[in-house]
Symmetry: C2
Subunit: 249 residues, 2 copies
C-alpha cells in the first residue's frame, strides 16, 4: 500500500545465488532502516533453493514488505513481514554493451533529498519509474539521475563510477540514491588492489571530463558509458580491470 | 512493487460516497500525473455501490496501481491498471477532538522536495510511515511535517490551515505534501464566504503565532490544534465556522 518494504535483485547461476552473503547483509540493513524484522537468512535460503530447483539460472528478486495492518500510517504492533521471492529470465543484454559500452542520457527528473531513506533499496521508487519513462529509444541503455543541486547520483537502475587520473570516484549517497551491493563490491575490490576510491559529489562536468565512466549493478555487471550527449569514450583500461576483478571475486 | 499508484480515502454515509465528484476528479488528476489510465467514474461507482450494499457507512479506500509489468522500471506498453476498493470501519475519534481540539507534535523527519510528485496522493508514502512511527502516545492525535527548510507542510494524514487576523493561510504544496480534497473544499468555502485564503510558506513560528490552527481531511473532518509544544489554543471561531460550512456543503 505505501511501498513500505525493501528489495534485492541478483542472479542465480547453476542454482547458486551470487554474492548471497552481501545481498542478505544489505537486505537486513535496509530492513533495519525501516524497522522491519528481516526474515532469517536460512528462511530465504530455503526459498532460493526452491526457486533454483525450477530455475537454476535466473534473475531472482526478494521483496520484504512490512505486512498487513490497519488503515493508516501507524506500524501495526504485531506486523508480520511478507517475503516474496520470484524468478525472472536472465537478461539478454547485447554483447556490445560489454565490448563497446552503452549510450546514456540525462533524466530531467531530479532525485529528492531524503537522508532518512538515502541508500536504502526501498519500494518507494516512483522517481525511478518516472525517470525510466523519459525515454523509449532502445539505443539508450540507461538514464543518469541528478539531485536538485545537479550532482550525479547514479542511473535509474545502476550505480556510477567516474575514473579520473587513476582514481575512482562514486557519488555520495547520503541524501538520495541506492547504495547497491555491486557498488560496495567494486569499492572494496579497487581499494584492495591499491586503486584509490573517493565517495564525493560528482558534477555533470566532472563526469564529462572523466577518463572513463562506468555503471554497475548485480545483474548488468559493468557497463562502460560509451556515449553521453556530445561526449564519447573508447573502452577503457580501468573499466576492463574492474570487470576482471568482479569476474574473479 | 514500486508504490506506483495513487489512492483516495473517504466516507460512505447511508450508502453514498461523500464528495464523490471531487474525489473522482482528484483521483483522475493524480493518475494523470503518473500517466496511469484512471478507470471511468461509472466503473468505480459500481464498485462503491457493491461496497455500500454490505457497508453503507464506512471509510472506503480506492487504490489505483499501474498494474503488472516485466521486471524493471519501464512502464509496460500495455499496462492494465488495477483498482482496489475496500471498506474499513468508521473511525471512533473522541468527541473531545472536535469540542476541544487535539494535541500534536512536530515530526523529526523532513519531507523531501520532489516537485514532480508534490500534491499527488501516490503510494510512495514511506515518509508518512516513518513520521507516524515517531510517536506512540495516544494523546498525540497527529504529527506535523516540515520540509528541509522548516516550512510546515501538513500533518502525516491531514492538511493544515493557519488563521491569522481573519485570514486563512495553508502551506504551498508545490514541492512536497498531499493536496487533499478537504483542503481544496475549505479553500473554496472560505473564499466564497469572503474569507481571504493565502497559499504560502508557513514557518513553525507563524504557526505558533496564529490565532487558530486546524487540520483537515475527508475522514477526520476538522480538528483544531489545542496543544503544540508549550503553546495552547482555545476553541476558535474560524475553525467552528469552517466546520459549519463543511457540514452544510
Amino acid at each position: 500500500m505505501y511501498g513500505d518494504g525493501v528489495f534485492r535483485t541478483f542472479m542465480l547461476r547453476g542454482g547458486k545465488p551470487l554474492r548471497w552473503p552481501r545481498q542478505y547483509a544489505k537486505l537486513a540493513a535496509d530492513c533495519g532502516v525501516l524497522r522491519i524484522a528481516c526474515p532469517a537468512a536460512d528462511v530465504l535460503e530455503r526459498d532460493l533453493a526452491a526457486v533454483a530447483m525450477r530455475f537454476p539460472d535466473c534473475v531472482v528478486r526478494i521483496v520484504i514488505t512490512r505486512g498487513a495492518g490497519e488503515r493508516g500510517y501507524a506500524i501495526p504492533a504485531a506486523a508480520s513481514p511478507v517475503r516474496v521471492v520470484c524468478a525472472s529470465p536472465l537478461p539478454d543484454y547485447p554483447q556490445r554493451h560489454y565490448d563497446r559500452g552503452v549510450r546514456v542520457q540525462l533524466c530531467r527528473i531530479r532525485l529528492a533529498a531524503q537522508p532518512a531513506l538515502a541508500g536504502v533499496k526501498h519500494l518507494n521508487r516512483l522517481e525511478n519509474v518516472l525517470a525510466r519513462a523519459e525515454w523509449n529509444d532502445p539505443g539508450i541503455a540507461e538514464g543518469l539521475l541528478c539531485d536538485a543541486d545537479d550532482n550525479v547520483i547514479g542511473g535509474t537502475m545502476s550505480n556510477v563510477f567516474v575514473v579520473s587520473r587513476g582514481e575512482l570516484v562514486t557519488p555520495d549517497l547520503a541524501r538520495c540514491g541506492v547504495a547497491g551491493v555491486q557498488r560496495e563490491l567494486v569499492i572494496g575490490l579497487a581499494r584492495s588492489n591499491n586503486i584509490p576510491v573517493r565517495i564525493a559529489n560528482v558534477s555533470i562536468d566532472e563526469l564529462l571530463a572523466a577518463d572513463e565512466v562506468f555503471l554497475v549493478n548485480s545483474v548488468i555487471g559493468v557497463w562502460q558509458i560509451a556515449e553521453f550527449g556530445q561526449k564519447s569514450w573508447s573502452p577503457g583500461r580501468m573499466t576492463t580491470q574492474v570487470r576482471r576483478w568482479l569476474d574473479h571475486a
